[in-house]
């Protein structure tokens, strides 16, 4: 299972690659709200959603798609951790059956 730190690193790469923000990794790591610090608008958040889904080969369920998820790197990573854990549990149950 991926740990939160590994997930954070992968999300960081998506932010830098897909959003083309003129910022470095460190500033994102320590950032408070991503939207306030980097001027991430609504469209950038959608780009981030799609970028993360491609990176993790997963569809973010609608119940996780909230503005709270995209507050900062930590909240995104926590949500992704939960989503991936639930996906892994589902696969395990299917294999048992």
């Amino acid at each position: 299972m991926s740990n939160i730190e590994t997930i954070k690193k992968r999300i960081l790469q998506v932010i830098i690659r897909d959003l083309e923000l003129n910022v470095n990794e460190d500033s994102i790591q320590v950032a408070g709200r991503l939207d306030e610090l980097f001027g991430m608008d609504s469209i950038a958040i959608i780009e981030l959603v799609i970028g993360i889904e491609k990176e993790f080969e997963i569809k973010i369920p609608p119940e996780h798609l909230t503005i709270e998820m995209f507050q900062n790197l930590g909240t995104i990573a926590e949500h992704m951790h939960t989503i991936m854990r639930s996906k892994e549990n589902k696969v395990a149950i299917e294999q048992d059956q």
């Binding site: 939207d35 608008d41 609504s42 469209i43 950038a44 958040i45 959608i46 799609i50 609608p62 909230t66």
Partner: protein, 310 residues
């Protein structure tokens, strides 16, 4: 929102909107819609003819003249201006009676053209972005479509992008916000473009294979991403965020035209607009925005007296 100082605290022309927004609106909650119409229409007609609205009438005539490149006779322009005034009055009245109309009432007076275009686009299961302008039948049509199983998420602005300097302080502070509340109460299903969660809400709706409505002619704020385009003989700034959305989600883009009022209205869904799919985001937007602006221009030229953005 840009701050523009008002010339007056209150103006004489605030009186009728005040009566409409407060006592008449309260009265409309107990009266049958037909009776409300009978009471309010003559009063608003009188209001439109008052000398204090002469400037407004003149600017409507000038706009009609511009739309038709000065090819209409003076008599025709006057006739179109009067029709425009009637349609806009009806739209205002509708806002306080629409919620009292049942699905059956609306079905009797509403016509939908091109529903097959919408249904075909929905088969792709990527959602549909409905594009159009501020036409007279917008809210009654959306209410009807919601009633018959096509709920539409409407993208709206919290407040007007620009207040006219001629507005009084009372109009800005009290009358405009109440008017916006009334409109929002009719639409019910809406998201504000200024909200941080706007993009996410739209994405969720499209992923549910839902419908999202964009009024392209809304005055775009300077902070929005957009492009200046030639439109009805002058340059106008158009927001492009919905094109970014279409690019990212693959949602279909369908023209929607709503004209009329709660006595008789028509919704027309055009054919799916074939967007040029270019890998670069900016190229995709500039290549496709012009197609959409020409579509809107065509709608306005077809129904100038129903277009409420004069």
């Amino acid at each position: 929102m840009p701050f523009i100082a008002s010339r007056n605290i209150i103006a004489l022309r605030d009186l009728l909107p005040f009566l409409y927004l407060f006592p008449f609106r309260k009265l409309a909650t107990i009266l049958p819609p037909q009776v409300t119409r009978l009471i309010i229409i003559p009063l608003i007609y009188v209001y439109g003819l008052l000398p204090i609205n002469q400037k407004g009438r003149k600017s409507i005539s000038e706009m009609i003249d511009l739309i038709f490149s000065h090819t209409k006779t003076r008599k025709d322009v006057k006739k179109l201006s009067r029709q425009y005034l009637r349609n806009s009055i009806y739209t205002i009245i509708d806002d306080i009676i629409l919620n009292k109309l049942s699905k059956k009432d609306l079905a009797k007076v509403g016509v939908i053209n091109g529903l097959e275009n919408l249904e075909k686009a929905l088969l792709d299961r990527k959602g549909v972005i409905l594009v159009g302008g501020h036409f007279s039948g917008d809210r009654v049509s959306k209410l009807f479509l919601r009633e018959i199983g096509f709920p539409i998420l409407c993208v709206r602005a919290k407040s007007p992008a620009h207040f006219s300097p001629s507005m009084s302080a009372v109009e800005k502070k009290y009358l405009v916000p109440v008017r916006i509340d009334i409109m929002n109460n009719v639409l019910k299903d809406y998201v504000f473009v200024e909200d941080k969660g706007f993009g996410i809400e739209v994405l969720k709706r499209l992923r549910k294979n839902g419908l999202v409505s964009i009024l392209m002619d809304a005055k775009a704020r300077a902070t929005m991403q957009g492009i200046d385009c030639s439109f009805l003989g002058s340059q106008r700034f158009f927001a492009t965020n919905y094109l970014h959305l279409a690019h990212l989600t693959g949602a279909a883009v369908i023209p929607m035209l709503c004209i009329g009022n709660s006595s008789s209205f028509t919704v027309t869904f055009g054919e799916n607009i074939e967007l040029q799919h270019l890998p670069d985001k900016e190229e995709f937007i500039s290549a496709n925005l012009d197609t959409l602006v020409r579509m809107l221009e065509f709608q306005v030229l077809q129904y100038p007296t129903h277009w409420l953005m004069m």
